[in-house]
Assembly symmetry: C2
Homo-oligomer: 322 residues x 2
């Protein structure tokens, strides 16, 4: 093998990485062909999106194999890959990968998602994050150390890792909750779409939301969010800052819950890896500063490194298939 | 005065009551002309809706005065009535009523809303519920007893009363939160619009949601609601029952928060008046049965009685203006 195609294929976007056999990213491409925005219906949509993004990579480098992760493996994806139950590592993922005969003679192996089934009988799932975590862990997993990793997002994930194994995880619908409250409730009415507050005003509103969340007892969210209306009605906060305030309340609730759940692993001396979109992660880092004592470490996009480790576990890489 | 028109005029509906001077409801009418569904723009819309509902009452009974409550007094209403700060009683409401010259020579007095400003600086508001509470209290307020009253709804209210005075209240956006989660997030995808579960299945799913909420710590809502997806994905709950399960989680969170806030007033021997829509109140009563020990007492629609007390406080009723 001389080169590998790795695809991070989500709901709203598709990212492709051309890698050499050591995992070095030679070229990155992105398109808007997420699985809900394909150029054609059904299988053809996936095929066209693949050829359009990667066609000339395949021809130039004579590529025969690729790997993919994310919603491309969901029930609405190219082909459904199962959820692998925790505890799981990259070898568990590789053992349940599903194969697609893609155009141009390329075989693509899609990574499965993960499930976690806690004692209360309410299961949890992830799809795509397991690869980002594999990338974050890298090769340095032989110490068997316990780690907590956070992936802020539409559905944030708090992931408990030991060595290279994901042992448990917990989803929070924080991003989607914020969006639904803003778009589909009365709270959005006072929030202007076209006007942003000054940076210091936004930061103060966000911090005020986090601090309100820190005061909360069980079940208080539906009460506290109403203040994102009344603070505007009473002129105690400028309307342009109300969305930052609401964001602080909902992110603050996530942090309060996590602090309760993972207290011992969120001490002042603990480094807490944070993976994801830069702007959103910056909000979480500010939230940690106010709500917690641990030290967040921003990791950026670890999907390419994770896809490479998945490919290695599949035995795709002669150099890595020890 | 021989008869009185009393209007409960909300966002999505208008209800009119023709009363005699003792507050007996002689006739009830309803129309879909809530303030967001008027037959014409601006003031004309309110005027047309009033004449269409009450015109022949005015003529037959030679009525000159009416009272109204609800969103008709909001910034988007016929005329804005202020928020009166707590503590407040029907006399405080009467002193801040605003007057409208309605068609057919009728003067309508619109009740103001209430505000409550707790120590944390996050104010709370109600509009319409203050009249329902006045109706629930009736004349029997001279004992000065402390009461807690619950009004389940789009924005549920928990109201602290002493004698005839509303001292404090707390809103929960529970109804609107449920609706936004169902309509505007991934949770709605597995919930069929056209299929209802069997009554025992719905009740079991609702109870399971309440019980999950009872286990929750601060900030857990955004985590727990995700199970309204995964329980369906994993075949642990039939899809038709997922909406009842989600309803149990969000109502359960409200009850957990209230139990925390009002514990001393939710003991086994305490009667808890519950005011509002029958189906929704029935859910809350079932929630109380699982989560609390107090005894809910369903009061039905207390708005007509409250409007009558408001009219009396205005001095409209010769017999009641002692």
């Amino acid at each position: 093998m001389t080169a590998l195609i790795a695809l991070d294929w989500g709901t709203s976007s598709l990212r492709g990485f051309l890698m050499d056999e050591d995992g070095k990213v030679l070229e990155t491409r992105a398109s808007r062909h997420g699985i809900q925005n394909l150029p054609a219906e059904g299988t053809e949509g996936f095929e066209q999106a693949f050829v359009s993004l990667c066609g000339n990579w395949v021809e130039e480098h004579n590529i025969r194999a690729g790997v993919a992760c994310g919603m491309v493996g969901s029930a609405q994806g190219w082909r459904e890959a199962p959820y692998v139950p925790c505890p799981a590592d990259t070898h568990s993922l590789a053992s349940k990968a599903v194969s697609i005969k893609a155009p141009l003679g390329v075989e693509i192996l899609i990574a499965p998602g993960l499930s976690y089934d806690p004692e209360n009988g309410c299961p949890d799932v992830m799809r795509g994050e397991e690869i980002q975590i594999a990338g974050a862990l890298g090769e340095d997993v032989s110490d068997g150390a316990e780690r907590l990793i956070v992936l802020p997002g539409t559905h944030s994930k708090w992931v408990e890792v030991r060595g290279g194994t994901i042992e448990a995880f917990h989803s929070y619908m924080t991003g989607e909750l914020f969006s639904a409250l803003r778009r589909a409730t009365i709270l959005g009415r006072l929030m202007p779409e076209d006007r942003k507050p000054a940076a210091d005003v936004a930061a103060a509103a966000f911090a005020k939301g986090i601090e309100l969340a820190l005061e909360s007892g069980p079940g208080d969210l539906a009460h506290q969010i109403f203040s994102a209306r009344t603070m505007g009605l009473f002129g105690r906060m400028e309307h342009a800052a109300l969305a930052d305030y609401l964001s602080g309340i909902v992110i603050g609730h996530e942090l309060v819950s996590a602090r309760n759940r993972f207290g011992g692993r969120m001490r002042a001396d603990m480094k807490l890896p944070v993976i994801g979109d830069g702007d959103l992660c910056a909000r979480y880092v500010e939230g940690f500063r106010i709500a917690c004592e641990c030290e967040p470490v921003l990791l950026g996009n670890t999907a390419p490194a994770g896809l490479y480790r998945f490919a290695a576990a599949l035995g795709f890489l002669s150099s890595a298939s020890a």
